[in-house]
């Protein structure tokens, strides 16, 4: 159990460092899409809520899990879709006039 926890901290630390490195290279131009994409990624809580909603441990856990699944799915689906919608608009050459 102790070793497992330490291992989890390793993963946390490495991912955080990696995140710092990658994200500090994102130019201000793309900060809004970045934020909306990382927000969609943080919808990964869905993975935890799926088990709570489907395992039928007890009615309360199921209800909480169901709400959590709904909330996290809004983030995942909405987040990736709107990021794509935004990024579609970023163009280099002058496009056609609207």
């Amino acid at each position: 159990m102790q070793a497992e926890l330490l291992f989890a901290f390793y993963i946390f630390m490495l991912a955080a460092f990696l995140g710092f490195q990658i994200i500090s290279k994102v130019p201000p131009l793309l900060h809004t899409p970045l934020m909306s994409a990382t927000n969609a990624i943080s919808g990964i809580s869905l993975v935890g809520s799926l088990v709570a909603a489907g395992a039928h441990y007890n009615p309360v856990s199921t209800a909480l899990g169901f709400i959590a699944v709904t909330a996290a799915t809004i983030n995942v689906v909405g987040g990736f879709m709107i990021t794509d919608r935004m990024l579609k608009m970023f163009k280099k050459k002058e496009g056609k006039k609207p």
Partner: protein
């Protein structure tokens, strides 16, 4: 066997998240990056559905259908100008999901929980809950349901800090006596309250920092969930999100010349405390120009720089602005856009709006790349920006924004300021730029003004 398979999907999902974020670093690859991340998420979800504890799918499917419908509707119909609100709202959903998973875990295991689990559960629940209410408050402020003016009262910082200390004490007490759920639920309630009180004193202009910070908290809550469930993908995705929010909030506070600790410990309102009063003192000597005056200046210009701010977003002037820039461009005028890091209500806010109006991103420049060019510029159009072009930040040590990096617009030959009225910016301070001899103020709604300028330029 099925556990190994789940772990394998998580492994690939993590790789896809990281690749996706890396691709988000350049506008050419960003769309692909977003697709990678989405594919990673899809893999992780499909993998999890095979989890052996899941015995029925009715609630999962219902939740996912409702969530997808709401999420998709928001993504399709929400106007780009409402992006800060949407982001704030989605942080609220993220916080809620994390908090509920934590509560569900505690409800299920109760007093049997070991310290190794209660530590992250408490962390997850506290961060999830305060992210939820804090983000709802931010949403309310951004969409105008709650006043954007900082709400302050006596001993605000002291009472907030005491509240936080009490919550922390409850948390520690509960860690040692997990058989007392009452401690846990009071702690949860206080965390919800902290979220509200934390954002209450924050003014509109400080929103970029708050949004980034809440982004970071939502990530940390997800990461804590990973510790609770011993789930690596949650730890990885959560810490990537946490790191991203943290970096952005550090960048934003730097751009406002506030130390990060100052921001972290809820002193957001402190700049705005020096607020109202002498806003109109500069009115006496400003040069007010008409639409025709402004157009004459632009006709005689070779180089023009546009400086957009939150006012452009409010009046939705970006399309008219782009039309104006097109006309100038066809007359051989070089038009560039200068974006201050904290222009608008979230990082990159102006870039998204200009992109929506079809402005090519290689015409858009960051503060440090363009600040030396103002002295060689014939005309600057300041549209709905105020504090980010205030020269007092460079010249007046007693100004609350002294030391904040600003755009050197006053170095240009003529500065055309489009503004609704003579009111002060969100920091509540006078802007001496408006009274400079080379400044021309054009009052009115930004969109209408720009549209009229386009018509005048055509004729």
């Amino acid at each position: 066997m099925s556990t190994a398979l789940i772990q394998l999907t998580y492994f690939f999902a993590s790789a896809l998240f990281i690749l996706g974020l890396k691709d988000l670093g350049s506008p050419e690859t960003a769309r692909r990056g977003n697709l990678f991340a989405a594919a990673g998420m899809f893999l992780a979800i499909v993998g999890t559905l095979a989890h052996r504890d899941i015995i029925s799918y009715e609630w999962i499917v219902t939740g996912m259908i409702i969530g997808s419908a709401i999420g998709a509707a928001m993504a399709i119909f929400m106007p780009m100008t409402a992006m800060p609100e949407r982001i704030a709202l989605s942080h609220a959903f993220g916080g809620l999901a994390a908090a509920f998973v934590g509560i569900s875990e505690y409800y299920r295991h109760g007093a049997e929980m070991e310290l190794l689990k209660t530590v992250p559960v408490g962390f997850e629940v506290i961060f999830g809950a305060l992210t939820f209410t804090g983000s709802l408050m931010a949403f309310g402020k951004l969409s105008g349901y709650i006043t954007q003016v900082p709400v302050t009262y006596k001993f605000q910082n002291q009472s907030n800090i005491s509240l936080f200390a009490v919550t922390l004490a409850l948390y520690v007490a509960w860690l040692f006596t997990p058989s007392y759920p009452v401690l846990f639920y009071i702690m949860l309630g206080l965390a919800f309250l902290i979220g509200v009180l934390m954002v209450l004193p924050i003014g509109g202009a400080d929103m970029p920092v708050v949004i980034c910070l809440l982004n970071s908290y939502a990530g940390l809550a997800a990461s804590a969930t990973g510790f609770v469930l011993s789930n690596n993908i949650l730890i990885i995705a959560g810490s990537l999100d946490g790191a991203s929010g943290l970096i952005l909030s550090i960048m934003m506070s730097k751009a406002m010349n506030r130390s990060f600790t100052n921001v972290l410990f809820g002193a957001f309102g402190s700049v705005a405390e020096t607020v109202p009063g002498a806003a109109a003192s500069a009115t006496g000597s400003v040069n007010e120009g008409t639409i025709d005056d402004a157009v004459t200046v632009l006709r005689n210009a070779q180089r023009v720089i546009v400086v957009p701010g939150y006012g452009m977003a409010v009046s939705q002037a970006q399309h008219a602005l782009r039309e104006l820039a097109d006309l100038l461009d066809s007359d051989g005028v070089t038009v560039k856009y200068a974006i201050h890091p904290v222009a608008g209500r979230m990082p990159g806010h102006m870039n998204v709006l200009l992109a929506e109006a079809n402005v090519a991103y290689d015409h858009i420049f960051d503060l440090e790349d363009i600040n030396d060019e103002f002295s060689k510029t014939d005309a600057v159009i300041v549209i709905g920006a105020n504090d980010v072009v205030n020269p007092a930040a460079k010249t007046n040590p007693s100004s609350p924004i002294y030391g904040m990096p600003v755009l050197n617009v006053e170095e240009a030959r003529t500065v055309i300021v489009l503004k609704r009225s003579m009111s002060a910016g969100f920091a509540g301070i006078d802007n001496e730029l408006f009274a400079l001899p080379n400044t021309m103020m054009v009052f009115g709604d930004a969109k209408q003004t720009v549209t009229k300028m386009v018509q005048a330029l055509k004729s």
